[in-house]
């Protein structure tokens, strides 16, 4: 949609990879719509994944015992974070939608992208205590995980050897993105790259481009309870039927109404990242 700003955080070493193609397709399609697209190509930037005292400039607030969470929170307030973090925070702040493009490594993001999350989404910028989940500081923004797997879609079903893919999405979609206040769009999962044909890959790319044409009309998956009264949480683990059409060659059982987590609101809560 013309005027919208998109940040793509890209985590693959090889421009000619399928991940590289997915990123390219997204840049092309979104630019065609009139969006402003920024790419953080983490490997080509040699992005630093390690969370260390180098992330703050000047003296630490406690020179005796270094706490990464405390020091980066203080540094954020004093504008004393290191420049590569500030630059990524600026990109996130400007974005209406952040797309994370990556191959699944050990049921999660590659370390270079984990480092982006650890360092960029710091307290003060992305959340505070209180100020997380639906009150996270990045509320109003959309996020979308676009990932590739070697294993087939069948392996990532309830009956598959690796379990329902929604389980491995939990720490990323709920524990990270929702925690920071993002509304999460259905994940784009390109399954089975280790066994897919050239033709199947082309179809997956075309499907991603097609989805992006109407991405701004999509409803987020439920990371907050949709109805009043009940605060039952039945969200991140649910893909909408509409979303599944984007996953090709796959027969996914949709568990409508599947409820994994129930929560009650808490007033005095404490964040995870220290």
């Amino acid at each position: 949609m013309a005027g919208k700003k998109v940040l793509i955080v890209h985590a693959h070493q090889e421009p000619k990879s399928f991940n590289g193609s997915l990123k390219k397709v997204a840049v092309e399609e979104l630019s065609k719509q009139g969006c402003t697209v920024t790419v953080s190509d983490l490997y080509s930037m040699n992005f630093e994944p390690r969370a260390t005292r180098n992330d703050i400039t000047g003296a630490p607030s406690n020179p005796d015992v270094f706490s990464y969470g405390i020091e980066t929170h203080e540094a954020y307030k004093k504008k004393a974070l290191t420049s590569d973090i500030l630059e990524e925070q600026r990109k996130v702040q400007e974005a209406d939608l952040v797309i994370f493009q990556f191959p699944l490594y050990w049921f999660s993001v590659p370390a270079i992208l984990k480092g982006w999350m650890d360092r960029v989404l710091c307290r003060g910028f992305a959340f505070d205590i209180p100020g997380f989940y639906d009150s996270g500081f990045l509320k109003g923004k959309l996020a979308l995980l676009s990932l590739t797997t070697g294993g087939t879609a069948e392996m990532y079903t309830k009956d598959g050897v690796s379990g329902d893919f929604r389980y491995f999405l939990w720490p990323l979609q709920h524990g990270t993105l929702h925690f920071c206040g993002f509304k999460v769009l259905a994940p784009q999962i390109s399954f089975g790259l280790d066994v897919s044909s050239e033709e199947e890959r082309k179809v997956m790319l075309a499907s991603w481009a097609q989805r992006l044409k109407s991405i701004w009309k999509e409803e987020p998956i439920h990371c907050t309870p949709p109805c009043s009264g009940s605060l039952d949480y039945h969200a991140t683990f649910l893909m909408t039927p509409a979303a599944t059409q984007f996953v090709l060659g796959v027969s996914i059982t949709i568990f409508e109404g599947y409820k994994l987590i129930t929560f009650l609101p808490r007033s005095a809560a404490v964040a995870d990242q220290r």
Copy 2:
């Protein structure tokens, strides 16, 4: 137990931190037993988390398109992996038990530890296709996650805002450790550091030391089906009642017989990491 070898993969920046104390307690207690204890102190080693072509020495098998999974698999076979990976693989190979000591960052390990997993546990060394889950190449070894959280134990229950802690353990315990063949011991979770008193921390440390005295007698949590006939998977998400005694000041509901995932064995399966 005298003669046993333990590797502690430690991921905290500050020796005086609570994570540092947990590591120290483990080294002391296990050494006292006559174990050989090796520590990979990732921050002090400035361990490289990024998975790049620098991880292979010599020419890549495909100079045109770089695939990290393919190239590191080939390099493993040709003994052409870079020296820091080989050194960590040697430590893992020698160990009877690997303890991972870390603060929870975004429902997962810090990026520096994720990088250790991404780079060290490569195809050929830790698994092959076939050759994963119960047939993973690190079978016969034990693994244990010892982690700290800022949030309280109540937040990580079924009714808590962050959901049952067993959900965030899934990618690590099942998707990574079990995938490589490890038998997984119950996690040691030191909850609520953001709100704990000095006294409570001392009790948590003492509890960890106490648990380690009989660690070699512990049964792994079920990552493989315990009974013949049925291949129902109901394992990683179950903590044994015995394990919960180590989690202090916490009332955790144990869902005995809780079954989240069911799987059937598959003959032609493909791994996740490429």
